[in-house]
Symmetry: C2
Subunit: 387 residues, 2 copies
């Protein structure tokens, strides 16, 4: 008998410690049987060949999955962190927009299934009006000055700054926000217990007290190169827009920019001297292939992210814009529902262009929000006039 | 008896000395009766009230128009300049695109009727592959460095640099081009005899020997504030694209940028530090309302102006692109002609959306180019297959 965890949250924590985030096969398995049975199947070896191969070492050295879950729960509590999973009130729903951009070539782009967070606030609330500021680690004084100024201006206007906790531009952005009393969110490529890089540890402690550290990996996980790229999609998805402040030609900020553009978030950049190699990547970005807006100060950033009524824009006043507050996936499903008729999940998923798993999950959430009703296993709009 | 000039060119020179360029009423009168009869009507007072008012002082102190023409011809020769008028082989035909953007609120935007030029080259040939570089007089060292580098790169690639002859960015652009052996064209807001500003006189002499000084005003005319704005439309219309390098918030470069955008030329800018007030106007420009491309070096400028197959783009290789070499007005008229049928000027002008005067003038030019034929006072396509 396998000693299984009895809490789906614990099962997701365990799975996150074994399989890298965004894994499409695990995602599909979770959608099919849920986290606890997924653990059982993995321990039984009753999973697709690839999943079996990447989990067999963990399974071999862990006879009791439940015990390992308990160790993870203790480690999580020990560093004053906690775990969020989809469906939690604090879960940022805009992350599900990642379903729209992941494809078979890039399965690791699926939304996170589990987030470790360290900090006292409410992550969803904190990210509701948020902008990402990212850029080169090898930033110039000019670049750090610009990032600091943007972050300060955003903080003063009540916007949260999201970044990656790195040296250079990220650091200047986090500190600029906190220096004006703003909350800031650092999305890490390592665990929240010993965030990377070491030199930023005092800053990470400040962020934990004034904002939030976020990671898809268990507390003691070390950063790995591919984790930075995986992490970037979360930064782009959390925020209403991303500003790139300085980047060399091979900067990872370009990767975050791509995610922002593909997620239809607002992509922005701050220019620099054409003679500065620290701005070369930013100027390349400005020439395409994605539309990128030039910004020079926080007011322009706010104008740009507010202009399109993005997912995190200021609370709209008119009653009709309840629809505007839906995430992209939610909105697509609401629009996919025929007026005055019932529809099943499969056809709704097809019409909305989202995976069935996502459709099921999102429809549940839409029911909580009062948008849809379930009748005899099929869905219909609850408020005909609001759609 | 009024002693009238016998050469239409001389009549246009005389009229240019009395009435500011781009005047819509004079333009219409010229279209109706031609330059010599226009002079006669003005001396008779047989013109619309406004034209009469602005010419009456000149008429009062000039009993003999022909004598005044001769004085202008002498003054023109004395400073080694000459006069171009529409229809001359050296006349840059792309100037007629200005017909497309002028409107009743801005009558001064009509194309020039007469250009004084000083320099040995062929203005039309020189502007066939040209880019305008404009910007602030109060430029920073950085801005002048950037303008110099762009101009040098354009010159090396065989592109002519067009600018306004001012201190700062204009000066750096002209000198950067000439330093690499490139031809450069300075479009002045004063006459070509004593170009403004005085401090640039040695540079103007260099330009006259290695490129071209261009002005819509008689040789000794002094610069006036409104003339800089009037002049800007010529810079924008001559070149395939305009690059703005540094500009304060109230810079005249913004005016040139607007003309470039309205003329559907490629509008470009070079960024600078967001902390530099010399770049503020440029960064504003980048945020709209017109589309403006960020460029950092000459290769990008050439890529952008070549990309759209603009009026001055490199000689196309394929036979079908003879059409691409037509100016916008020429192309519209060719397209307005029904295949295999005859059409009169009035209906062609209406279909093409250009003034009848322009249609008549352009159709004459298209006949010279072998595109159209005149039969019984009506027009038809000469080469059916080329259109």
């Amino acid at each position: 008998m396998i000693n299984l965890p009895d809490d789906p949250r614990h099962a997701l924590m365990l799975l996150s410690s074994m399989i890298e985030p965004g894994d499409a096969e695990l995602d599909d398995l979770l959608g099919e049987v849920g986290p606890i049975e997924a653990v059982e199947r993995i321990w039984e070896g009753n999973v697709p060949e690839r999943l079996h191969r990447i989990t067999s070492a963990s399974v071999a050295c862990t006879r009791d999955p439940r015990e390992r879950c308990e160790a993870l729960v203790s480690a999580t509590a020990a560093c004053e962190s906690r775990v969020l999973i989809p469906g939690d009130p604090e879960w940022p729903e805009q992350l599900s927009d990642l379903h729209l951009v992941c494809d078979v070539d890039e399965p690791h782009l699926r939304p996170p299934r589990c987030l470790w967070v360290r900090g006292e606030g409410d992550l969803a609330a904190m990210c509701r009006r948020s902008v990402a500021i990212v850029g080169a680690r090898a930033a110039s004084d000019y670049g750090e000055h610009v990032a600091d100024g943007l972050a300060a201006g955003l903080a003063e206007a009540g916007w949260t700054v999201v970044s990656g906790g790195a040296l250079g531009i990220d650091r200047a952005a986090h500190l600029g926000s906190m220096a004006r009393g703003g909350p800031t969110v650092a999305v890490l490529a390592s665990g929240v217990q010993q965030p990377y890089p070491q030199r930023n540890r005092p800053m990470f402690d400040l962020i934990a007290r004034n904002g939030m550290l976020v990671s898809e990996w268990p507390p003691s996980s070390s950063p790995m190169r591919h984790r930075f790229l995986t992490r970037n999609r979360v930064i782009a998805a959390l925020a209403a827009g991303t500003v790139v402040v300085e980047a060399g030609t091979r900067s990872g900020a370009r990767n975050t920019a791509r995610h922002a553009a593909e997620l239809e978030r607002v992509l922005m950049f701050t220019p620099g001297p054409v003679t500065s190699s620290a701005s070369t990547g930013v100027h390349q970005l400005a020439r395409g292939p994605w539309e990128a807006r030039l910004v020079t100060r926080a007011e322009e950033v706010i104008e740009d992210v507010s202009g399109i009524g993005g997912p995190m824009a200021p609370e709209p006043a008119s009653p009709s814009s309840a629809f505007d507050r839906l995430t992209e996936v939610q909105a697509r499903l609401v629009e996919a529902l025929p007026r005055g008729a019932l529809s099943d999940e499969r056809s709704l998923a097809a019409t909305a262009g989202v995976p069935i798993v996502t459709a099921a999950e999102t429809l549940d959430r839409l029911r909580e929000l009062g948008w849809v009703e379930l009748r005899d296993g099929r869905w219909r709009l609850a408020k005909i006039d609001a759609a």
